[in-house]
Symmetry: C2
Subunit: 241 residues, 2 copies
């Protein structure tokens, strides 16, 4: 199995098996990708000397490989050329679910947990490709207009990568599930939806005159959902890559 001909589903193992509310789970590769590709931030769990850490960072995806920006984990990985186990998780909150009993309160969400062996990307060619990906995946068409990174900047940037070995997606997207016996209770129940949206761009005061918000950033127009913009940019990136 390689990144260019992935199977449709991840294998189910004791590690990635969805235990609670398993009817909300999926091992479908496209379902996992969709959740990953519509998020800017992920959280990475790793272990140093038995102590778990949970670090937020920026992630991006190339086929079945995930990359993310260097973090405290870099120090751990510097001495582990063979890599270390991590779990990279992405979550979207879509709504607060209010019920007629405390027990039936819930949330609407989409989340993906990905397991693999993380290692620092050191091969120059792979690192250059990853550093281009971190820009082009989020802002397709942007890299060509930028000053190139210096050798010193590239050296100062740690990129971590892993192939997704196991993964699961989990989501809830529906109305409140009150018990029928509770339908008569005169408390409001339902869903309060939430979404992450894009605001008006704040232009740097240090631009040359005449520089305006460019066409390549059109996906990030004011008022749009961020998850939709990010998913669109991933598709454009893959189409152009």
């Amino acid at each position: 199995m390689d990144a260019r001909s992935p199977q449709n589903s991840y294998p189910v193992t004791p590690t990635n098996k969805v235990k609670r509310m398993h009817e909300r789970g999926s091992y479908d590769r496209e379902a996992v990708y969709a959740i990953l590709d519509s998020a800017f931030l992920c959280h990475v769990a790793y272990v140093i000397d038995g102590q778990p850490y949970c670090t937020p960072t920026i992630h991006w995806r190339e086929g079945d490989w995930l990359y993310w920006h260097g973090s405290a984990a870099s120090r751990m990985l510097k001495n582990q050329k063979q890599g270390a186990p991590v779990c990279l998780t992405v979550s979207h909150l879509d709504g607060l679910v209010l019920a007629r009993s405390g027990f039936n309160h819930s949330a609407n969400y989409r989340s993906a947990m990905c397991f693999g062996t993380a290692a620092i990307v050191e091969a120059p060619e792979e690192k250059q490709k990853a550093l281009k990906g971190i820009i082009e995946r989020f802002y397709p068409g942007r890299a060509a207009g930028l000053r190139e990174n210096t050798a010193q900047e590239e050296k100062a940037t740690t990129v971590i990568g892993m192939r997704i070995e196991q993964a699961s997606a989990k989501s809830r997207a529906k109305q409140v599930g009150d018990d029928e016996e509770d339908f008569g209770i005169a408390a409001w129940a339902g869903v309060i939806p939430v979404s992450t949206v894009i605001g008006a761009p704040q232009t740097s005061p240090n631009l040359p005159e005449g520089v305006t918000f460019p066409a390549h950033l059109a996906p990030y127009r004011e008022g749009r959902r961020l998850d939709d913009a990010l998913a669109e940019c991933q598709q454009a990136y893959e189409a152009g890559a």
Copy 2:
């Protein structure tokens, strides 16, 4: 040091010390609380047999104690009465930061990492208080109008708790930091702000006639930022608790 007379700052240790971009870090208790209290979701990292897991869940805070909803970690903790080390992290994405070089791209964000020893809340009185907190902290004034949880429901709900032993906050909230040498490059640079906002409530189709969106949910009015609503509710909860 107990929960009612916390010191102003968390101790700085090799575990919680902010390594990258340390000028963005803080160990101030109120800074950590503010980030925790304005989020609905957190991510919890824990270890089972050397494998790290990163699970999204709902958290709430009572003084210097954090509680969260049962997860796969419950199984691990069932056999560890003395508790297990975890890291609970909350992150808010506030903006995408676009620069004239790849290297100076960034994000505006607020995050808090909290370290402690997690254990299942089993003492009946503490568990009852926590199960009331999970409703009242998010929706102050709501519990009184609900059907009470049954004994079976309480048994089926796992609550995990930990005292925050170490913590750090980290944030970036500013314009792009282009190098002065790059000011002449004719690429757009600046911040694209993002925020998570509340949508129009979706009322359950199973309510008795005449039940409307109640006063106790006023903080969750359409169009408002979710982080502001959650912070307001935590303050109301603390004032009434």
